[in-house]
């Protein structure tokens, strides 16, 4: 496709459920980022992949959050035992160069609501 895609676009989970959010970056993009955007705030960094290697995960809020990109393309962000404070929009972004050394292109996001 022409841009970054994410699925599902909306997810409602009961507290304690596990969820998996998918990101399809632009083909050929080496760098992939996940962000969390709370209501009325700017995106906040969660984790970074260069190809299949997760080079930084310092932004993941707890050990309930886990991300992978096993073949260096599609990535999945998994949240275990969801809590209400996990409710947010989760954005994925990709960029062509390693290190994210240029402009990032964002997907439409997944809006997660935890009840």
């Amino acid at each position: 496709g022409a841009g970054v895609s994410q699925s599902p676009r909306y997810k409602v989970a009961k507290r304690g459920q596990d969820v998996a959010l998918r990101c399809d970056p632009i083909s050929g993009h080496v760098s992939l980022f996940w962000y969390q955007q709370a209501l009325g705030q700017g995106p906040e960094f969660l984790t970074y992949f260069q190809n299949e290697a997760q080079l930084d995960k310092s932004g993941l809020p707890s050990d309930r959050f886990f991300a992978e990109r096993p073949e260096g393309s599609v990535s999945t962000l998994k949240i275990q035992r969801t809590q209400q404070e996990d409710s947010a929009v989760y954005l994925c972004a990709s960029s062509f160069l390693p290190r994210g050394d240029n402009e990032q292109f964002f997907g439409p996001g997944t809006r997660l609501t935890v009840l």
């Binding site: 970054v4 009325g40 954005l91 290190r99 050394d101 964002f106």
Partner: protein, 113 residues
């Protein structure tokens, strides 16, 4: 921790008026990005400013960067309703092995007819 501050956070203006949004950041960075976000949509890239003194213009929007002052401005000329959106600035900082983006809180712009 790097801070990126935008002001104002909310801006209501009449069509045809001019206004400026400010973005201050707290550490050295030569690169700054402006994004637009419509409600329920993702971030759309507007400008990439790559050096001190950079100025870019697209339609009624003009962005500039002063790296010495750690300040970027987004100037709106003769606003129209279609510009209503939330505008984010972001700086990137090279950490040990990648460029990390830090975003401001956003400026929600409402242009009234």
């Amino acid at each position: 921790e790097l801070k990126v501050e935008q002001n104002p956070l909310f801006l209501s203006m009449q069509e045809g008026k001019n206004y400026t949004i400010y973005c201050n950041y707290s550490t050295t960075s030569d690169r700054l990005y402006w994004y637009r976000q419509d409600p329920g949509k993702s971030l759309e890239s507007l400008f990439v400013l790559l050096s001190n003194g950079a100025v870019k213009q697209e339609g009624r929007l003009m962005a500039s960067l002063d790296t010495k002052a750690r300040l970027s401005t987004l100037h709106i000329t003769a606003a129209v309703h279609d510009l209503s959106a939330t505008y984010f600035c972001a700086v990137d900082v090279f950490l040990y092995n990648f460029n990390k983006f830090y975003f401001g809180s956003g400026t929600k712009l409402n242009v009234k007819p």
